[in-house]
Symmetry: C2
Subunit: 310 residues, 2 copies
Amino acid sequence: MHITYRQLQVFSSLIKTSSYAATADKLCITQAAVYMQMKLLQEQIPLSIIEKINNKITPTDTGLQLFEQAQKTIYQFSKINDFVQQTLKLEQGSLSLSVVSTAGLFATRLLKNFVEKYPKIKISLSIVNQKTMYQQLEENLCDLVIMGEPFSKNKIFQTPKANYALQAKPFMENPLVIIAPFNNKLIRKKPHTLSKLSQEKFVVREAQSGTRLAIQKHFKKYKCELKVAMEMNSGEAIKQSVAAGLGLGIVSQHTIEWELEAKKLSVVPAESFPIKRQWFVAHLTQKKLSPIATEFYNYTLQNAHKFVLQ
Amino acid sequence: MHITYRQLQVFSSLIKTSSYAATADKLCITQAAVYMQMKLLQEQIPLSIIEKINNKITPTDTGLQLFEQAQKTIYQFSKINDFVQQTLKLEQGSLSLSVVSTAGLFATRLLKNFVEKYPKIKISLSIVNQKTMYQQLEENLCDLVIMGEPFSKNKIFQTPKANYALQAKPFMENPLVIIAPFNNKLIRKKPHTLSKLSQEKFVVREAQSGTRLAIQKHFKKYKCELKVAMEMNSGEAIKQSVAAGLGLGIVSQHTIEWELEAKKLSVVPAESFPIKRQWFVAHLTQKKLSPIATEFYNYTLQNAHKFVLQ
């Protein structure tokens, strides 16, 4: 069968109005078009669906069956249409976000504001480490991610299953600053040269991490050696270690707002700092962004900077 | 929207198999046709319905909505198709018959046999007088009627609302015989001439009835006068009146089987008798006969004679 929605619509209206003229009026088409749609519909069903008795169109037994199913089908299409319309008007839909934990502080504030603007959207947020975020991308579990710099320049990342291309756009600076325990002596004299600071030992992220690579690159650029006191697998662990006096740290300024307020950490003034990295909003290149995902994408580009300490 | 059943079928299969190749295989079409149907479907929906991540087709939010509705729609079409197929195989459907009361005796026997042959068909039988039968035809309440001779030669009958054309086919002789009370003296000497019998008084149907007209025509042909003892508005009343001795009667031989058996009435042997009329099976010319109605129509033509006393 190659029955079309239009044919069902014409047929349904014809049964309801018993008139070709009224059907044409109602659907804003010509009467000839009504005849044509009915002809095309009838050709697909080996039994008559209507009969004309005394100029009144009535359905045959088969026509009555078709009418009942047509009504249901038309209702289903109206539901699809409603969904599409509401999705276009951002009044319906869902948005799945994955955010690296270091961006959690500003991303949750950004999201709160967005939710207030689009209260009918179902949002799921996942605050994860980078590895999990890549898994979620690979499994197509998230629409958008907020992350630091993607793995590589060409934004292809590899998984056991496939290579994925990422569409990633920077939307805000991600300044890396040197942190020390609160009121450490280093924060008084300023600004320190990197060669001075490189005499200190640092608590750093593991060798493969983006932040670690950025730090090593920066030290290399200034021909300084990075003395590693200890490696940590999370930003949270680094902050706690620095506060405990295990060494200095280099972390995103956007992750230490609470610790500065609570007087647990201080930022060490230093020449050539902060190291300026970027935050990225990204999605799989193959991903078809929904209207609400597109909206959040643009919203992030325009508003994220309002939610960090300048 | 001009979405087609085929598009929904292709889309639905594509979501289930996640593969264009598998969909093409399953629906026995080329892969190019699958792409084309998907392209035509997507053109009608202003939001993407599928995305391809790592060579795996998955539905978008909108696609998921469409998939759910498509599944329901496909189910509904399968139900229409089942109905059509079963109707064609005479395993489903309904048949509405209207039978004039004088034909009731053989028509019910005929029907009993038919029902045993097609037990799944829903049959409604209406035994009515001629006036009601014409009303039922006018209101398109019956598929077929079994009747005596239609009103007029061109088989157009008039109602307050419209003229209707009848498609009527004779299928069996309807012999009109002269009846008398059981063992009346007239049945001994045989056969009587009509001029002899015309000395008797007759209990007859009302002036407008087909039987009455046929009787008058017959008497006129033989240049005899019809002496009317009394007019009755039903065949039942005539039989009872004749048995009570109010006069002779002329009725269809097919209506008196029980009265002959019960020895209430006798047939009077007469020259130029029986008057040979016909039984007709008829329907509105505009009526689209269903497969089961066509079956009963042909069944009546071929078998009705088996259900009357010869």
